[in-house]
Symmetry: C2
Subunit: 298 residues, 2 copies
DNA sequence: CGAAAGCCATCTCATAACATGATAGTTACT
DNA sequence: AGTAACTATCATGTTATGAGATGGCTTTCG
């Protein structure tokens, strides 16, 4: 059975004539005859009466229902891919906790307003986990800190964050080694790229082994900072957004360590679903950002 | 886009391999490549990652939903027509009032029990109207009295009725001409074949013009018979079934006029939908009857 | 009743599409 | 690096398809 045959069949059913059907679908009458005949052979039943006017038989009447379902689904699929604009289905996105909390809401809102038919699934996690999800194809794109290094991905530089050291009291300078050793570093669970930054920073101070406490959510972590449990490192914008609710203080970090770019990473263009394409459009509209490619590396 | 391509695509999606997909659908790997490639060209998006294992891209993931819908509908249609047994959809049947009331219920019940998925639409009317409905394709089969004479139909002799004259009092012989002229003949509306019979009978008595009162339903007609409004002609079985409720009496009519066969008329076999085929099966199971064809006549 | 017009089935032919098998190129794994 | 498994590409024979012409059938109109 061919989609073309079903289209011709429906055209005959609707026009009541083989000739009219052939004209509607820009082909020739003999073609219509051949397709209908083949359909009839496959289904083992005459589909159309040929007594003067072409009317549906009982069997044809029964086929109409299925043909309609098939062709409607086909049309929708074609429309989705070929017609610009419009998206539906599911969109699975991953993001870091901090990005999710601060940067994503307006973008998601804009996207959802524009394409309400898309079901969005959000996953949060540290950069390493997100990268793995993307690699495994369980999400269609992830917001991560720093460039991905494992595969060939399409990277879109969407945000530039400035990391700051966050503590319970005002700080005028970096805590001393003694202070570090006396406190705990609060971080997201393994894989958080911010955490790697602070480890790098501490290493430059000659501090290698510090106590680390891992959190799953931002709020819990900030609560513990306020309680004086230790320090953490977060984007400046995130800290400022939470200073109303938490009595936290920050210290700017040295430039090369402080600057972190957040990328939206996906597989290469051309593999994008319409829903994903539209999301990237929305992203580009929301931020003015450059666009670079990551390269495979062993 | 071809159904074959979608099947291969789904096979690749499910097996995760072009080779496995080709084996599952009994074809060759290069074929799978070609079909997927064509699909990708048509949709303008890469559907499958080929990095070692064949995983769906975001676009492929989006297509799965539509492909599933299309293929499920296709499978159902094929199953419906090719697999024996099973029927669904709609079945539109017409029948005379008397057939509907007495003969059809057990048959419809049996059919509905066997094929609950079929929606049955019943239409009642006199033979002439039913014939027209069948000709116009608005019903798939009709129960009519006597052979259809207009087109080439498939006729199934399902019931043999014996017509009797029905009146309000016991009769030992045919009413006299005076009695006829003094009363009314109660009949279903124009087109009822029983009515034609009585007109034939009366004509043999030399009575041509009698008063006729037309009814739409059996109950109304019987009520009027009881009230002494006139005579009517009905199948013996129908009269006997109603003698509990109505004080009616009957007189047997002369053989050639009394005997009426009820046929189930449909278009020719081969045009039957599965639902209709199953119905005819059920009919054949319910009655032991011969099977004849009506012929076209100008 | 007969002629004409419409409509569909059939046929042929040229072209396009397809399935196949072999081969080359890629990637992942050891 | 070498191997194994996988996919892309190519050449080829076959099939399927679409277009046009023709003929038979039915309906319609004079």
């Amino acid at each position: 059975m061919q989609l073309k045959s079903l289209r011709l069949f429906m055209a005959v059913a609707e026009t009541g004539s083989f000739v009219a059907a052939s004209q509607r679908l820009h082909t020739v009458q003999s073609n219509v005859t051949a397709h209908i005949k083949k359909l009839e052979e496959e289904l083992g039943a005459q589909l159309i009466h040929r007594n003067g006017q072409a009317r549906l038989t009982s069997a044809g009447y029964a086929l109409v229902e299925y043909a309609t379902r098939i062709l409607v689904a086909h049309d929708e699929a074609l429309d989705l891919f070929t017609r610009d604009q419009g998206a539906c289905g599911r969109l699975r996105i991953g993001a870091m906790e901090t990005t999710m909390a601060l940067r994503l809401p307006p973008i998601l809102a804009a996207y959802h307003t524009a394409y309400p038919e898309v079901d969005i699934t959000l996953t949060t996690g540290p950069t390493a986990e997100l990268t793995e999800l993307l690699r495994a194809g369980e999400v269609e794109g992830v917001f991560v800190a720093g460039r991905l290094e494992h595969h060939r991905y399409h990277l879109l530089n969407v945000f530039s964050e400035q990391l700051v050291l966050v503590g319970p009291k005002p700080m005028s300078s970096m805590p001393s080694s003694e202070q570090w050793l006396a406190s705990t570093f609060l971080a997201f669970r393994q894989g958080c790229s911010y955490r790697q930054r602070i480890e790098l920073l501490l290493a430059s101070y000659g501090i290698n082994a510090i106590r680390i406490f891992e959190f799953g959510t931002l709020d819990a972590m900030l609560g513990c900072v306020v309680a004086g449990m230790g320090y953490t490192v977060l984007p400046l914008a995130t800290v400022q957004a939470h200073q109303q609710r938490f009595d936290i203080h920050y210290l700017e970090l040295p430039k090369p360590i402080a600057d972190v770019d957040t990328y939206f990473a996906t597989t290469e263009p051309g593999t994008w679903s319409p829903a994903l394409s539209r999301f990237i459009d929305t992203l580009n509209d929301s931020v003015s950002a450059g666009c670079v490619y990551g390269r495979a590396q062993s």
